[in-house]
């Protein structure tokens, strides 16, 4: 039986949440920025092995710099979280640890994958020193633009959720 898992994508606006989903679901990217309002739902079935698959229902939430303001109803029944920040904009990760605490408390400690996005815009050697300097606990560095590491990040969460149940 295929299981459906609700995954919410959180983070400040403009960090690339919508773009990451678009890359993952339909392998497309656009430079145009269209602000997401409310929530945008899409689905992707992920094959984990020959007989095993999991269906991810991706909730692309309106970005906000104040996580407390997220409508509770959007988070009901969340299985997993992807938290995205933009490597280029310190304002999107400078309170990351606190943001993650807030998220945790709102989703009852569901598994969370932290993504630093837009790695294509920053030279490799700068990234690591930047993130170390700010002591940022990230899981993946991705680029929705080039597609780098996008699938890995989503698959990682998918397999956690699969084993979770």
């Amino acid at each position: 039986m295929q299981k459906s898992k609700k995954v919410v994508i959180l983070g400040h606006f403009g960090v690339g949440k919508t773009s990451l989903i678009r890359r993952f679901v339909s392998n497309q990217f656009s430079d145009q920025y269209k602000v997401t309002i409310g929530v945008h739902i899409s689905k992707k079935v992920v094959d984990l092995s020959d007989e095993d698959s999991v269906s991810l229902i991706l909730w692309d939430l309106e970005g906000t710099d104040r996580l407390e303001q997220i409508r509770e109803a959007y988070l009901l029944g969340t299985h997993g979280v992807i938290f995205v920040f933009d490597i280029n904009r310190p304002s999107t990760f400078q309170n990351l640890k606190r943001d993650l605490e807030t998220v945790k408390s709102k989703v009852q400690d569901r598994p969370t994958v932290v993504i630093g996005n837009k790695k294509d815009l920053v030279p490799e050697e700068e990234i690591s020193s930047l993130l170390e300097e700010h002591d940022i606990p990230y899981d993946y560095l991705t680029s929705a633009k080039t597609g780098e590491t996008v699938e890995e990040a989503f698959l990682h969460l998918a397999s956690i959720l699969h084993h979770d149940s």
């Binding site: 269906s55 409508r71 959007y74 029944g77």
Partner: protein, 510 residues
């Protein structure tokens, strides 16, 4: 149509009620927003409903989800969804608010874009500032590194020039000397620039004869222009005052840089230095300075970059303003609350201009006072009725010539001249000098080191011997360090005769 019919149609279009059993199967459906039929499972309408299962199971009160974007068979709709507990399971209320939310989206779009934009600008600026800071630090270190080899080069050039040379060799030495001087000037400009950038440069307004300054500039640049086959003209409005109060040295630096630049980049025609009169308000006069050339002109796209330091690094061809001169002009004028203006037509030439507010003394008799002051200093010293013995130590022949001339003209000094630090100590021990005037950057032993040694001498007359340092490196820090070595005063290059004599006499008096 009757109002009831209108209402029915409107509701059908914008509202949909779907009755579900506890497993999510559609029992009844009233509308067309979600494409779903009786008997189907609600999750077939959109994957969104797959993830609602937990909502359904835990539902004890109505639950609302606002602003849900759904892609429905190519249509994008934005709906509000309410789930109510019902007799047989649930009642879904779907409300199409696409047009309402689309308006809201446009507002959010504008707001978010401008916030991000602003953030990126702030970041960009921080980065530019950091680069600028690094650049200044680099310039300061670099010019310090450059100082010593340049001094050796000048010393070696001088030694060579004193050896027997044939005509060709003499020409080569002359060229070498000019190169050295050029380098030295650039070094000074560089230091001034980095001083401005790091806020170390302060203006020192003095009362001075503007007409005389303009005459000096006119003579100097007429010579330079003529030797290049150009004309030179100075024109000054009749209301331009003779005596003004401003930082004479820095104004001079601004004008010479603009004039040098004009001569350098003009192949034929004329250079004009013009001083216009804008207005007078109480004891302040606003003047308009301009330097006009008939050179090749500066294209529109380059008009800002010519004032940047090291703009030549990015431009392969030699352009007007490559180098430090114009950056220095811009920086100095900013310090003076003014701003450099550039008008230029490619093929016709350029006009660099600026407005400058200077003070003019209003009380009558100020000039007499000024001159009397200077006179009285000189008188006091001559009243003593003897000439002073001065040891002059300077390795740069040009500076030496100037100093020599300035001091001899007063008729009050006997001068001994040395150019090498190593000989100074011996000379001081053997001769009863009244004062030493000494360059600090001397070959072999530096002036401040010599001063330290002299101050340790066990002779009574020597420990109080006035020593005045001369230096091209006029950082406040340096000046302090030099004074700490035991010098009575330090005069930064370039200096004026009055400044030099005033310093000498005040040291001799005390």
């Amino acid at each position: 149509m009757t109002p009831e019919q209108y209402q029915k149609r409107f509701i059908e279009k914008h509202l949909q009620f779907i009755e579900l059993d506890t497993a999510g199967s559609v029992l009844q459906n009233t509308g067309r927003i979600l494409p779903i039929q009786k008997g189907q499972n609600i999750s077939e309408a959109h994957p969104f409903f797959e993830s609602l299962e937990p909502v359904f199971t835990a539902l004890d009160a109505p639950q609302s989800l606002h602003c849900v974007n759904l892609d429905l068979e190519g249509r994008e709709v934005i709906v509000d969804i309410q789930v109510h507990p019902a007799d047989k399971g649930f009642m879904l209320l779907v409300q199409d608010l696409t047009s309402h939310y689309t308006g809201y989206q446009a507002v959010a779009q504008e707001r978010n874009e401008s916030i991000i934009q602003e953030e990126l600008i702030v970041l960009k600026n921080a980065e530019l500032e950091e680069r600028e800071r690094f650049k200044n630090l680099f310039i300061q270190n670099f010019s310090h590194e450059l100082r010593n080899p340049l001094m050796s080069s000048m010393a070696i050039t001088r030694i060579l020039s004193e050896s027997p040379l044939n005509t060709e060799q003499q020409h080569l030495i002359e060229a070498l000397r000019e190169t050295n001087t050029h380098l030295k000037l650039m070094l000074e400009d560089t230091l001034s620039l980095s001083m401005i950038a790091s806020g170390k440069l302060e203006l020192k307004p003095v009362l001075f004869d503007l007409k005389k300054m303009l005459d000096v500039l006119s003579i100097t640049y007429k010579t330079k222009a003529v030797s290049k086959g150009l004309d030179f003209e100075l024109s000054s409005h009749e209301r331009v005052p003779q005596w003004v109060e401003a930082d004479r040295k820095r104004l001079f630096q601004v004008l010479t840089n603009l004039l040098d630049n004009a001569v350098k980049f003009t192949e034929q025609g004329k250079i004009t230095l013009e001083v216009g009169f804008n207005q007078q308000y109480a004891n302040k006069v606003n003047l308009h300075f301009s330097v006009t050339d008939t050179g090749k002109g500066i294209p529109e796209a380059k008009k800002n970059t010519v004032f940047e330091t090291y703009s030549q690094l990015t431009s392969p061809e030699k352009e007007q303003g490559t180098g430090l001169g114009l950056a220095l002009v811009k920086g100095l004028l900013t310090l003076m609350d003014s701003e450099i203006q550039l008008q230029s037509t490619v093929g016709k030439g350029s006009v660099f201009s600026f407005d400058l507010e200077v003070k003019v003394p209003v009380e009558s008799g100020w000039k007499a006072t000024l001159e009397k002051d200077a006179d009285s200093i000189r008188q006091k010293t001559t009243v003593r009725g003897r000439k002073y013995r001065v040891l002059l130590v300077e390795d740069d022949e040009r500076v030496l010539t100037v100093l020599f001339k300035m001091l001899m003209e007063t008729g009050q000094f006997y001068l001994d001249v040395l150019s090498d630090g190593a000989q100074v100590l011996e000379q001081v021990i053997e001769n009863p000098y009244d004062l030493i005037l000494m360059d600090i950057n001397l070959p072999n032993t530096r002036g401040d080191q010599l001063t330290r040694i002299i101050r340790e001498f066990p002779f009574k007359n020597v420990e109080r011997l006035p020593i005045i340092g001369i230096t091209a490196f006029a950082y406040e820090d340096h000046l302090k360090a030099y004074k700490a070595s035991g010098m009575n005063a330090v005069i930064p290059k370039p200096f004026e005769k009055e400044e030099l004599l005033d310093t000498i006499f005040s040291c001799l008096k005390s």
